[in-house]
């Protein structure tokens, strides 16, 4: 099982993303944007990691979204392969129209945060069933860090949020540590509409999420790790279940195809 971690100029989370995928039982290659996109066919899934692709020129994610590699990822996603965009990767998926993907156009934005650049820990709650949360319990709350200046999901389409709810495309919502969803800061850190932290496409195989699961894959990465045992700190943290869910999804899909 092989995952391509896509590297654009300015991506900076590729190594920890590769390590997180490997810790969860997948092999991962860092795939540069200027390689032959046809080679992407050899992979079972794709992760667009965080960073500042093309230095966030014009606005975060938009230049990378026009790159020819994204056309190929779009084609592979149509076959049902898993595509995860984390932070800047989420911005690229939104700007490419893959998320939420209900129409062939950009339907939503990741606008500048209400309170500027944020680098802090948040909690998110899991909803629905898709390629990214099969290993999470219904409504499970997980701690994750965020680090972004443009992460506020907003839309001018008045019916979009209702459609996302109806089609179970809201995968992660910002909440407090008990799972209670409140609109106020810092529970909803960036002012996102409907506390949106992660949205998938209708088919459930593409996810754009602003928090960083690769920075919360092991317990030693979580706040309060000092008080835990060495063994506990070496073990996987709740956010790893996002990567484990991708593995499960790929295995099940492969079995179904075979």
């Amino acid at each position: 099982m092989k995952i391509a971690v896509i590297l654009f100029p300015g991506t900076n989370c590729e190594l920890e993303t590769k390590q997180a995928l490997e810790a969860c039982g997948m092999s991962a290659d860092i795939f540069r944007w200027n390689l032959n996109p046809e080679k992407l066919e050899d992979y079972d899934g794709y992760v667009l990691p965080g960073g500042w692709s093309y230095e966030d020129r014009i606005r975060a994610g938009v230049i990378a979204s026009k790159d020819s590699i994204m056309k190929k990822i779009k084609e592979e996603a149509k076959k049902g392969k898993a595509v995860l965009g984390i932070c800047n990767g989420a911005q690229i998926l939104v700007e490419s129209g893959l998320i939420p993907g209900l129409k062939d156009e950009v339907e939503i934005a990741l606008a500048p945060n209400n309170k500027g650049y944020l680098c802090t820990w948040v909690h998110i709650k899991n909803n629905g069933k898709n390629a990214f949360n099969a290993e999470l319990k219904e409504n499970e709350v997980i701690p994750l860090p965020i680090a972004h200046g443009e992460g506020r999901f907003v839309t001018q389409n008045k019916n979009l949020i209702d459609e996302l709810i109806k089609k179970k495309q809201i995968v992660f919502s910002y909440c407090d540590e008990k799972g209670i969803i409140k609109e106020e800061y810092p529970i909803n850190p960036n002012g996102a509409t409907y506390n949106l932290a992660g949205i998938c496409n209708e088919e459930g195989n593409i996810l754009a999420m602003m928090p960083h699961p690769e920075r919360a894959t092991w317990n030693r990465q979580l706040p309060g790790f000092e008080g835990k045992s060495f063994e506990e700190n070496l073990s996987l943290a709740p956010a790893s279940k996002i990567f484990l869910s991708i593995k499960k999804y790929i295995e099940e899909n492969k079995n179904a195809r075979d």
Partner: protein
């Protein structure tokens, strides 16, 4: 109330404008001659325009003399048009739908004493130079480029100026 518009460009190469130009080429817009970009500020002030203009360009927050150049326009004055018989210049002002100038205005008023500012706006002025194919067609093409690349309509707006 006086209205002053300020356009702040770069003396050094503008990598964002260059990347935008190359991205447009990749997107199939082959008749773009050049793209440039300036930060845009609009002030409504109570007081003397000349005094304000002299002071505002010396504030490092908006203009760094080592790397920026600037133009000030008083009400009714127009942006310089570099169009010629072959190339048409289209100016597009992109702004956020939600007012995002409060932070700068606070700094200017509270920290730097610009109490004459009563209102301000900010944005990015894009100048797209299109190899001319008739006036209407170039405007349409500039609007298409704006919608496809320069703005995300879910949080930004634009106007041709």
């Amino acid at each position: 109330m006086q209205e002053i518009e300020m356009f702040v460009g770069l003396k050094i190469p503008d990598t964002t404008a260059i990347t935008t130009f190359h991205t447009l080429e990749k997107m199939g817009y082959e008749n773009i001659a050049k793209v440039s970009r300036e930060n845009y500020y609009k002030f409504e002030i109570e007081g003397n325009e000349d005094d304000f203009n002299k002071k505002i360009v010396k504030v490092d927050i908006l203009v760094n003399a080592n790397k920026n150049n600037f133009t000030l326009l008083n009400k009714g004055e127009k942006i310089k048009d570099a169009s010629d018989e072959n190339v048409k210049q289209i100016n597009i002002l992109v702004q956020n739908i939600d007012d995002d100038s409060a932070g700068i205005m606070y700094t200017l008023k509270q920290r730097l004493g610009f109490n004459e500012i009563k209102k301000m706006e900010k944005g990015i002025l894009w100048k797209i130079f299109i190899k001319d194919a008739g006036n209407k067609k170039t405007v349409n093409e500039a609007e298409e480029i704006t919608n496809n690349l320069l703005i995300n309509r879910h949080y930004q707006k634009y106007k041709i100026v």
